[in-house]
Symmetry: C2
Subunit: 228 residues, 2 copies
Amino acid sequence: MTPSDTKTWTSETVAGDLERAIHEHRLPPGTKLGEDELGEAYGISRTLVRAALQALSYRRLVELKRNRGAFVAQPTVAEAREVFEARALLEPRTARSAAERMTPEALATLRDHIAAEHTALHAGETGHALFLSGEFHILIAQIADQKTIEDFVSELISRSSLIIALYWRRRAALCESQAHHALIDAFEARDGALAEELMKSHLLDLMASLDLRNLVARPQSLREALGR
Amino acid sequence: MTPSDTKTWTSETVAGDLERAIHEHRLPPGTKLGEDELGEAYGISRTLVRAALQALSYRRLVELKRNRGAFVAQPTVAEAREVFEARALLEPRTARSAAERMTPEALATLRDHIAAEHTALHAGETGHALFLSGEFHILIAQIADQKTIEDFVSELISRSSLIIALYWRRRAALCESQAHHALIDAFEARDGALAEELMKSHLLDLMASLDLRNLVARPQSLREALGR
DNA sequence: GTTCACGATCTTGTATACAATATTGAGCCC
DNA sequence: GGGCTCAATATTGTATACAAGATCGTGAAC
């Protein structure tokens, strides 16, 4: 993270940074994102902050409340269900397509990704591991080579991180390592049907780990969460 | 359309108006959307224009080119395929869900919609008919009562209007009237499986009507297209 | 006639100023 | 102590000013 006096932040990079912070649960659901505070933190004017926040609101990561400000979104139980239903519709398909298009390079990338996730977990960096876990799914969608669906998946993954922050009840790491490894095997075998089935059950498993009756949120100061 | 001196335009309403104009092919793909020109047309400052354009860029209806301006998007052939593939993945499901949830009121709304479309066609308002035709699909997604997927469908429908502007080769009205009527029958019978199948073939039919080898674009002045 | 360079002007990117609205704290009353 | 009111302050919404970059027209050179 670059210090604020380096002045390299655009609205896009700020949005990306905030999204990362949200994804890694450094900015929990419900956190207020003040324009002035963010402007000071990043060393930019409110104009760019507002653009970044608008961008995040289109990804449903941030809720803009007129005259009241921007807040990290807090998906309802209904929204949680919807997001995972949408994932259940799209991701098995991307898994199948990815398997059919798999290359040694792509496979290596996926493996590196899992390794990085394990490393982060062992180092106690659960937020980073969470981010990488979600990125694994996005990588699959990228390999599937369908940008439109990839974009939807990307948004759903980001929103999932909020849902997980609010509703996750399983002690274990987010995605069962085994499930990702099984997917890797299906990809190596270029077995589209298997990849599709594995993704379906993986997502069912994820959804089963959500307690869609609880709601928790913990705001904290912005500077602290962004580490500046 | 309210005259510009009434000062009721927000960035959201401007974005909605522009989206409507794009959808009805009054703003063709490739049209430059100048900030000052739009600000004058709507009687607002560039601040709100920029926000509206950013909103439209997130829906992929407008392409923002840094230092060069905003243009109505021109989907490539690849994008066209992707959009219809994504629709093929999502809309049969929404059709099924809609059928299972159908009420007499919702059915009446759909029927009214088709009637309005016919009226527009007979009046020679092809742009309006086109808009209503797309709205029919969005209505189905709304009845399906899954907001997340509905939002994706809405975006895909809007992008479809651009694709149709560029690649449509059939002389007939956009969606075959018969296909929409058959869907209505399936909805009336609350036959989810039939609705799903009908939607699948309807979308295949639509995609078959696109000539994904041609590219046409016709810019024109903004004031003219917006009728102000 | 064609091409290139340069300057003027236009347009977009961003910061800042001003307007509008919400929040908070102090004081007063019951 | 609790509730209400009001003013000060903070924050958001929007316009405007200034900076940066792109475009276009003109004149000179070939």
